[in-house]
Symmetry: C2
Subunit: 701 residues, 2 copies
């Protein structure tokens, strides 16, 4: 009887056919949602009268085969607006405006009576939407077999893409039309990487950057990825349709879901000006505010490290010994002979601490300090490392005291080789060890295939792991810089101790000749939309043959390396090269010493994905500005409009520019440093060499 | 050049054809090892001139397809003997003799030059052998795809078996000939259990008990299962061949192995007297000694519990509320209404503490004390329980104080619903919570399929997990009683805080009409060979219909329940029934109050698997003896020979026997208690009802 009544009520109140439209606050964007015949939810997105996303399906396949993308009715809708300002703990801007119009749709699936809500938020810079499964009587636990959300594009756009792979995001970026991906993808997938699990079909990773033939810029990603698997995008190169492709576990399930939870936001940033894509805070805005009681312990920082020496072919090693039959907990390292070229030894680290202290750096990263590296590519082994036992030649207490006396922090390193369960087993003790020994930040690493063996790097389980580590770290007041983790989705707003991530092809690939000159002109449009990247720039000695057998050459000029400190936003910035190279170029090194790592305000001056990026930023709480500009393999002239400076004053600008004979391949270390006076009505032209760049530091005169 | 030299040396010293024989100290057992044509290792076992194991293959398939069971040479052998006595922390005997002849064979695989050793230990009561992979230059990490060890039997033996299943060992035991297993197994596998992963072929679990047509008793199991997966046995019902079948992970790999490690021992206990099988300490002897510095905190104990009430259909529930949309860490239980029949509430637990204190029990188990039980069968959910947050009506501090004032311990309960990773995440805090609140023992539970989702209950990964929990618990001086874990292999010698396990069909199945009258006459020959079982006997009210809708009836008489405290060895013994039932039968309850849980000496008086067991034991450090005897569905007369008592003294024996009209089905509560005088030259006959039993307590007069 009760059930009959409920059905009766549904027929009274439910709108079977349904359509509703929402506009962005500035009216440039229009989102329309329609429940089509058969109760099929679709959406469409327009920008300044042009279609951006054609009619696109929404929904899921649940459990084994339930089609949860039709037979819906809309029970009711709620429309709201919001316009607030919030202050991040650190960031590109010290204040961020969060201004949107929202539509929340309450849907019921007529065959099962299961309920789902869809929440759309329309900002001036784009759209976010997510699915919300409220707690309900008829449904509690289910499996998401597929998410069916589509992003149907309007044409054969220019696309900046890497192939979908559940275990890695370290591919080089390819620029092609959508229709060409199919023919190109297999070759790109041959890239040798430590763990690969390619999607079985043609699919790409997000953030995905697209440019239409009529010069619209579109960026598709997700925000607030928690307790869900990462989204890739299936590509239909004929219909230009993209659709969600969630990372599975090895049982083929995408997400284990309990009602009372939500999906991540699906995000579409849109503009006819590429600079707006870089300036957009949409993804941060869609993440939850930080609820830490105290954030005073979270501090942006610049660091050096015992790191690059492991890549350049100079012989330095993570491992302490050549003996490889290591059993953690049993092997007595004090009885093993050192191989004589172990990088993380006390006296070598002290040199880095000295140099860091002398040059105003906050910290020194030390990799290879702990037991286990001899057997570090044993991907089947669960207990590879101890995270509390240093090698015999790494004196934790002595280094703690020494670093403290010099006002420098040591950055902890936890390479897990993806033996994740063993890492979790050690986590509490590892963090306690850090606190006891004066460490307040950790670089984590996830090289190789995951243990538990049912999981991939980008699946729900690992997503939960990364978030768990960051949360746990916050309890110990530890900052985290995670490498080889799932790419970020703005969670650094919620967890500001997640100070940076790698999650893309970083500078280490320069040591394998692996980065193209346009690489860093694309990353700000793709990977960086999710959050800061520990790209580790600052390589001055780009020709690695000087060290030995490695013939790799850097893909940039020296000044482009400087510019990256401004163009590649991160509150954690490394000066990655060897001390001796900074000592050889003290004038250029001055910029790295000077440049800020936290900002009041950011100005995107010029930008075109794949071609160039020019950004100016005001240092946080200081009247200092820094500008960086980079170009791809083509030389260019940057145009700097100094109107970002406060009016009525004169400023001194130090300019680090490519010399006229500079060229990334033939003459990368040729640069000119000059000083000029500017004010806020001035403009300036600066020449950039092929794969060159420039940097500026500006102070009030 | 070096390699050539090594090959040359091999040809000099290696015996290509090879055969060697070892005898047990009493010469009754003969083990012969032969390297057959093609370098194939085989072994054979004889007992008093009769074959027990026919020529049987040894070896592996490694990595994808390498046959590691041929092309071997024997480099050398080492023969040793040992005869020692050791003292367990607790046990059936306070001293155990460990006496064996050993042969260690050093083998090299000629095609790969990989090395493996095989160690045979021949005891008077049987054989143990294992594979040892020494550290070596050519081999470090590999995968065991199959272990090929055979146990080729001599005929169509009577077999006491449960089907191979990677996720459960809670099947009823079937008695049949080997040749009949094939036809019977599918039906047995229909048994409804919370998680099942049947082997794809006909295979059975160990400990496997066999009886030959000429009355030899043979028991096959394993000892010291660490960092390896559990062994099942493939059954060829035509050739009577058994062969190792290791539990895989869901990727199909059996074991991830690093050289420098060993396999568990494969054990074959043999005798022409069934009592010797029960008396055998071979499996304990093959486990490593305990290396705990202090074991004084490990104490055998008798306990009551808030437990049986959840099974009898009386309405009591683990869950606090009827609200099921629980999200651990978010759901605020203080705002939820109690369902009114939550078992683990403070005042109810106090009643148990009072009763335990009054009757000399050591402890009270409380299940259902912690947040999460409402959603406890959500097998896909990772965060089901908190192990540190009690329900609002369970006052941890008040109960700690109350229990302490009464001299009683509370036993912690950690049901994981097999969300093992989440349990590990909470483990440190959960153990700390225990220590902080006065708990020194925990019952763990693994109902349902395992998370990580690549794993089964009996695979290497979970084996490591159980061992990890026990080791971690020892650091907190916590005793562990694990339920639904892999069956034990004598590791309680090494980790004596592993006080008991379930790992078989226990008393809880009596509440589903699930146990056959012969069940407990078989378990001592099978499951109990690996270690003590928390069988939870002591049910006096066997007809459950008195409570409500449950129509189940106990499969024993009341006195058989008493006998189980002696026949089912465990240093942890529960009196599982409700308080009110013990109050109804105070005279019978007296035996449970009196019976010891730790022993100086055990005497197996009568035994036949599937039919009857009679055991006498001397209480540890006391001149008290207890005798228990049980029978299957057939009544019988037990013959007690009191020669186990010290000579020259008179003893008073209290006898708890089935009354003449007792019958497990029709009159289970009919018993007679009598007192007699005995001495060590006396014998006695006692009648046991169908599925009946008797118990005796003996003191010096």
């Amino acid at each position: 009887m009760k059930r009959v009544l409920i059905f009766f009520m549904l027929f009274l109140f439910v709108k079977i056919a349904f359509a509703q439209v929402v506009y962005s606050p500035d009216k440039h964007l229009r989102l329309s949602f329609v429940l089509k015949e058969g109760g099929k939810p679709v959406y469409e997105l327009n920008y300044k009268g042009k279609k951006v996303i054609e009619e696109s399906k929404m929904g899921f396949i649940l459990n084994d085969f339930l089609s949860f993308s039709e037979n819906f009715s809309v029970i009711r809708t709620e429309n709201t607006s919001s316009d607030t300002i919030w202050k991040p703990v650190w960031g590109e801007n010290s204040e961020i405006r969060d201004n949107y119009n929202e539509m929340l749709l309450f849907l019921v699936h007529r065959t099962t009576n299961w309920k789902v809500n869809i929440r759309f938020r329309l900002f001036n810079d784009g759209l976010g939407f997510r699915y919300e499964f409220p707690t309900q009587k008829e449904l509690r636990h289910f499996i998401i077999k597929e998410e069916l959300t589509e992003f149907n594009l309007t044409g054969n756009h220019k696309t900046f893409w890497i192939p979908a792979d559940y275990d890695t995001n370290e591919f080089p970026i390819t620029t092609s039309h959508l229709s060409e991906i199919d023919a190109l993808i297999e070759n790109v997938r041959k890239e040798p990487l430590a763990a690969k699990a390619p999607s079985p079909n043609v699919a790409v990773q997000t953030p995905l950057m697209l440019k239409t033939n009529d010069n619209l810029y579109v960026n598709i990603h997700e925000a607030a990825l928690m307790n869900y698997s990462a989204m890739f995008l299936n590509v239909d190169g004929k219909s230009f349709s993209l659709s969600a492709h969630l990372a599975p576990d090895k049982n083929g399930n995408k997400v284990y879901f309990q009602t009372g939870n939500i999906t991540p936001w699906r995000t579409i940033i849109v503009s006819d000006d590429a600079r707006d894509i870089l300036a957009s805070n949409l993804i941060l805005n869609l993440n939850e505010p930080c609820d830490f009681e105290d954030t005073s312990w979270i501090k942006p920082m610049k660091y050096l490290g015992v790191w690059w020496e492991y890549f350049i072919g100079g012989g330095s090693s993570w491992a302490y010994t050549d003996f490889k039959d290591i059993i953690i907990g049993k092997t007595d390292y004090s009885k093993l002979l050192s191989n004589g070229h172990h990088g993380a030894n006390t006296s070598h680290v002290k040199k880095y601490i000295d140099f860091a202290s002398k040059n105003g750096f906050d910290a020194v990263l030390v990799e290879g300090w702990n037991e286990g590296w001899e057997d570090n590519v044993a991907y089947h082994k669960e207990k590879i490392y101890s995270f509390t036992k240093p090698y015999p030649d790494f004196d934790v207490k002595e280094l703690q005291n020494y670093a403290q006396s010099k006002g420098v922090k040591i950055i902890m390193h936890h390479e897990t080789t993806s033996s994740v369960i063993d890492y979790e087993r050690q986590l509490h003790k590892a963090f306690k060890f850090m606190v006891d020994n004066g460490y307040n930040s950790v670089k984590t690493g996830y090289v190789g295939p995951i243990i538990p063996r049912s999981e991939y790097h980008d699946g729900q389980w690992m997503v939960n792991h990364y978030n768990y580590v960051v949360k746990m770290a916050s309890e110990y007041k530890i900052m985290v810089n995670s490498h080889e983790a799932v790419r970020p989705t703005g969670l650094c707003r919620t967890f500001p101790n997640w100070i940076a991530q790698e999650s893309a092809r970083g500078t280490e690939f320069e040591s394998f000749n692996g980065n193209h000159p346009d690489h860093t002109t694309i990353l700000p449009f793709t990977r960086l939309k999710g959050g800061p990247m520990d790209y580790t720039p600052g390589i001055f000695q780009g020709d690695l043959s000087v060290y030995g057998s490695n013939k790799a050459k850097l893909s940039t000029t020296l000044t482009k390396q400087l510019a990256l400190y401004v163009t590649m936003y991160s509150p954690l910035q490394m000066a990655a090269d060897l001390i001796e190279n900074y000592e050889r170029f003290p004038d250029a090194f001055q910029f790295i010493k000077d440049v800020a790592v936290d900002w009041d305000k950011t100005y995107i001056l010029e930008a075109e994905p794949g071609d160039y990026v020019t950004i100016a930023r005001k240092a946080k709480n200081k009247n200092e500005w820094f500008v960086g500009g980079i170009t791809d393999e083509n030389s260019r002239e940057a145009h700097i409009d100094f109107s970002f400076l406060p009016p009525g004053k004169t400023y001194e600008v130090i300019i680090y520019a490519d010399a006229k004979d500079a060229h990334w391949q033939t003459n990368p270390q040729s640069y000119v440093i000059s000083k000029k006076k500017v004010n806020n009505v001035k403009t300036m032209k600066i020449w950039l060499a092929p794969s060159g760049g420039f940097a500026m530091s500006i102070k009030e005169k």
